[in-house]
């Protein structure tokens, strides 16, 4: 195989940080090359150098054997390098074709060549087995399809080297399998793919070779067939990492949270949670699994008082919190780690100290009748920073300067510091690196052991299975079943996630037609592969 791309001794310094230290990477034609590393290991910097967003301080880049200088994304695109960002760069109200047309130069001057773009999309979709409707508006498409639209956009711009930044972070399990299939077919056609991730199992599944970065340096480049999860983790973190499942059979104590017959609508007015009933007990972690968009967000929000329910009841202890305002829910002792750390969980322009009292800013000891008590706020913030090992340049810096992992620690620390009896944790480790994930998991387990009821809502099935004493599965807004840990595994939960089986309507096996034919079969394949 010929080398498509060679990055040689790339060095990139930022004030005070050596982000890339003589990093070399070669990607062959038809290869899927995985790039793994903790947050801050230099993956993104390296890819930004390749995509022309940063200029390296030192080092060379060769594309197809020729040395090149990449000064801007436009240069990168003209060299056949395409980037699929983790957060899609699509205009939701535009159709797929219109999104593809954005930024493309038309040969007819100011007249858009929508027809030819549409034809190209259809041709490429057929060629690579994608099912893309070029006339669909992007917001109507499932995430997986939106991602395919991003890929098509890159292909139509002539990309032969595709960079995918954490592409699986937003996808449900079935979509991940489909993405992998697509990527493999690209590779078979001679495309080179750089796959960035820190999910090691995925990397081993999809990658031909794996390059591990740590603290700006290449630790090793190895064949995926020679790699093991433990070894990769050790290379990434620099020490051994414990992967043993931590789930525990719940001692079903008193029910602390009772949800009965909740029906909740989403923003578009569609029923997102249907007749949902659940009880949570002291000292358990109850995992909620489900394909993305099965009602998880609405469940978390209705519990936190951020969304109204049409019918049903929420009881926390003896307190009726049905449609209570957020401040009432907070007072009643429900802690909530929201999915969106940056927009909801914290205020970026507020200091770490201010964020640490976001939910207690009117209460003693942080506030008197009128004034904030700055000394006790600072003391509290310093405590949290220390106890949770939050890496920050002090408690007075703006929260937006913190990394995702540290932001998550800050949120978790704050939520837990408020002596709550129930914690709702939504996607608590999404986008976090191994160490931060490990830390979060350890904290959740500690909280469980201290008697808190933890509702863990996560798209990461491995995480749900590893931590939960019971697993509740959502499918299209309905609770399919609640499985005890010993019965919950990838297959059993996967089937329920696809709408197959379950206890509703007296436990009869019932599958919706479309769910069965499409999702179900994917799942069986997945099950066989495990």
């Amino acid at each position: 195989m010929t080398t498509m791309l060679l990055m040689k001794n790339i060095t990139k310094r930022f004030p005070g940080v050596l982000a890339n230290d003589r990093v070399s990477l070669d990607v062959r034609e038809g290869e899927i090359h995985a790039l793994v590393g903790e947050n801050g290991a230099g993956k993104t910097t390296l890819m930004n150098v390749l995509y022309g967003l940063y200029q390296p301080d030192d080092g060379q880049i060769f594309v197809r054997g020729r040395e090149v200088r990449i000064c801007s994304p436009r240069d990168a695109i003209s060299l056949g390098i395409g980037m699929i960002h983790q957060h899609f760069m699509l205009v939701p109200a535009f159709t797929v074709a219109e999104n593809v047309a954005l930024g493309l130069k038309s040969s007819k001057g100011i007249v858009l060549e929508m027809d030819s773009i549409r034809r190209r999309i259809e041709q490429l979709s057929a060629q690579y087995g994608l099912s893309m409707d070029s006339q669909a508006q992007v917001w109507q498409l499932p995430v997986g399809v939106q991602q395919q639209a991003e890929i098509l956009k890159a292909l139509i711009r002539g990309a032969e080297i595709l960079i995918l930044d954490e592409p699986t972070g937003v996808l449900p399990p079935q979509e991940i399998l489909r993405l992998f299939a697509t990527l493999r077919s690209f590779a078979a056609q001679g495309f080179s793919i750089i796959f960035i991730s820190h999910k090691l199992k995925e990397v081993m599944e999809i990658g031909d070779r794996i390059t591990v970065l740590r603290q700006g340096r290449v630790i090793s480049t190895i064949k995926a067939t020679d790699a093991s999860v433990e070894e990769l983790a050790r290379m990434m973190v620099g020490r051994d990492v414990n992967f043993a499942p931590q789930r525990k059979k719940p001692v079903l104590g008193d029910a602390v949270l009772r949800l009965s017959n909740l029906t909740v609508f989403d923003d578009r007015g569609v029923e997102a949670l249907k007749d949902f009933s659940l009880e949570m007990y002291k000292g358990e972690i109850l995992g909620v699994a489900g394909v993305q968009g099965s009602g998880q967000t609405e469940l978390a929000e209705v519990l936190a008082g951020l969304r109204r329910c049409r019918s049903g009841h929420i009881l926390l202890g003896n307190r009726d919190l049905t449609n209570a305002a957020p401040h009432t829910v907070i007072e009643a002792g429900l802690a909530y780690v929201p999915e969106d750390r940056k927009r909801v969980g914290t205020i970026g322009t507020f200091s770490v100290a201010e964020n640490s009292i976001l939910k207690s800013h009117t209460r003693a000891p942080f506030a008197g009748k009128l004034l904030l008590r700055r000394r006790s706020i600072a003391e509290h913030a310093r405590c949290l920073v220390q106890e949770y090992d939050i890496r920050t340049h002090g408690i007075d810096v703006e929260a937006r300067t913190l990394s995702g992992g540290n932001l998550q620690k800050l949120i978790l620390a704050r939520e837990v510091s408020r002596s709550a009896s129930v914690l709702v944790a939504m996607q608590p480790t999404r986008g976090l690196d191994i160490q931060a994930t490990e830390f979060t998991h350890r904290k959740l387990l500690e909280l469980r052991d201290s008697g808190m009821a933890v509702l863990l809502i996560s798209a990461d099935l491995d995480e749900v299975l590893a931590l939960s004493g019971r697993v509740a599965v959502l499918y299209e807004g309905r609770l399919m079943d609640v499985l005890p840990a010993e019965l919950a595994n990838k297959q059993s939960v996967g089937l329920l996630m696809a709408g197959i089986g379950g206890r509703r309507d007296g436990g009869t096996i019932e599958a919706e037609e479309k769910g069965h034919s499409h999702l179900g079969s994917t799942h069986l394949r997945r099950g066989a592969g495990d």
Binding site: C71, R74, K105, A304, A325, P326, H327, V344, L370
Partner: protein, 361 residues
């Protein structure tokens, strides 16, 4: 193709020295551009600026004028800063000035029997209440009906101005007068300077309000909630801040400050309600608030800069026959440059040359 580009800095500039330097450069550049304009108008920029400085700071009378003119700007600037800093885009300060002045005038003229200090206090309070009540209309529309406050608050300006025009030409017109004005009010703000200068106590009131707004926004739990709503409504709601209550309270405080500006002008300067009562202080107050970066101390400095510019420009007009509207132009350029250059704190400008783009085949 030559392209001008802004690239995100790996770390934003936070050093106060660099920030002050950027601010100084912006203001100096604005004056340089203003100088070019003066040159184009056929006068010497040096003489022009000398006249401007002399007008604002060359005499006690000029300087007192600067302070008196800065007072309403400071109050409306503070009102705008409270609102904008809390995510409520109240651009109805002009109308709130008018309604504040109206209520102050009505109180002062109606309860003439009361002792003067009490009447004055009531009139001031009435001014704040009038502005607050006027701001409550867009606030209530937003809080209870989800109407964006921008258009209602903007339109409320014109309604207020027209109501006052009607009143001073009709029901409240001074008896036996053909002028569009009310009678002189009996209770007035005391003068702090000997005649003929007219420095009135309103300035002290405005300074007190500056401190009060600073404490409210930075030191109280209420202000914490306000700022949270301004910085991120979703996070504020999540954090338990009562959004509806915040919208209403913020608009009341913001409108109250502008109403205070109206009462101030009435009780300290005009002594009566007249048509065209405010010289656009409400609108200029928005610029002052933005220039002061919504920080009370910054707003005070900005109101002072703006008022010295307009007082100085009047002198420039007298001496060099250059239209005093040059002050307005410089004010606008200062605001544009100061706000525009903020982007340089987070982005680094760069010029690059790049080959042509790809096209669809």
């Amino acid at each position: 193709m030559l392209t001008f580009d802004l690239k995100r800095r790996s770390e934003p500039i936070v050093s106060p020295v660099a920030k002050s330097a950027l601010l100084a450069c912006s203001i100096i550049t604005a004056f340089l551009i203003g100088g070019v304009l003066i040159e184009i108008l056929g006068a010497s920029p040096i003489l022009g600026y000398r006249a401007l400085l002399a007008g604002a700071f060359g005499s006690i009378g000029g300087f007192i004028d600067v302070i008196v003119k800065a007072t309403p700007l400071l109050l409306t600037g503070l009102g705008t800063a409270v609102a904008f800093g809390s995510g409520q885009f109240n651009i109805g300060s002009e109308g709130q000035i008018y309604m504040g002045a109206l209520v102050a005038a009505w109180v002062d003229l109606t309860f003439q029997g009361l002792p003067k200090p009490i009447l004055l206090g009531l009139a001031i309070l009435g001014g704040a209440t009038g502005g607050a009540a006027w701001a409550l209309i867009p606030a209530a529309l937003k809080a209870f009906r989800g109407v964006n406050e921008l258009i209602p608050s903007l339109m409320s300006n014109y309604v207020a101005i027209l109501i006052i025009r009607y009143l001073v030409n009709g029901p409240m017109q001074q008896p036996d007068s053909y002028m569009p004005q009310t009678a002189l009010v009996p209770a007035r703000l005391p003068l702090l300077s000997p005649a003929p200068y007219r420095l009135h106590a309103g300035f002290v009131l405005a300074l007190c309000m500056t401190a009060a707004v600073y404490i409210l926004m930075r030191r109280t739990s209420l202000g914490f909630g306000f700022r949270a709503v301004g910085a991120s409504p979703a996070a504020a709601k999540y954090g338990g801040v009562r959004i509806r209550q915040t919208v209403l309270l913020v608009m009341i405080i913001s409108g109250g400050l502008s109403g205070l500006a109206g009462a101030n002008e009435l009780l300290g300067f005009h002594y009566r309600l007249i048509e065209g009562f405010s010289a656009g202080y409400g609108f200029t107050g928005i610029l002052v608030a933005l220039l002061g970066r919504l920080n009370p101390v910054g707003v005070a400095a900005a109101s002072f800069l703006f008022s010295s510019l307009s007082v100085g420009a009047n002198n420039m007009q007298r001496i060099l026959k250059i239209p005093s509207s040059i002050a307005g132009i410089i004010q606008s350029i200062v605001v544009l440059l100061v706000l525009g250059t903020q982007v340089l704190l987070e982005y680094r400008p760069s010029v690059s040359f790049s080959p042509t783009r790809r096209t669809v085949d």
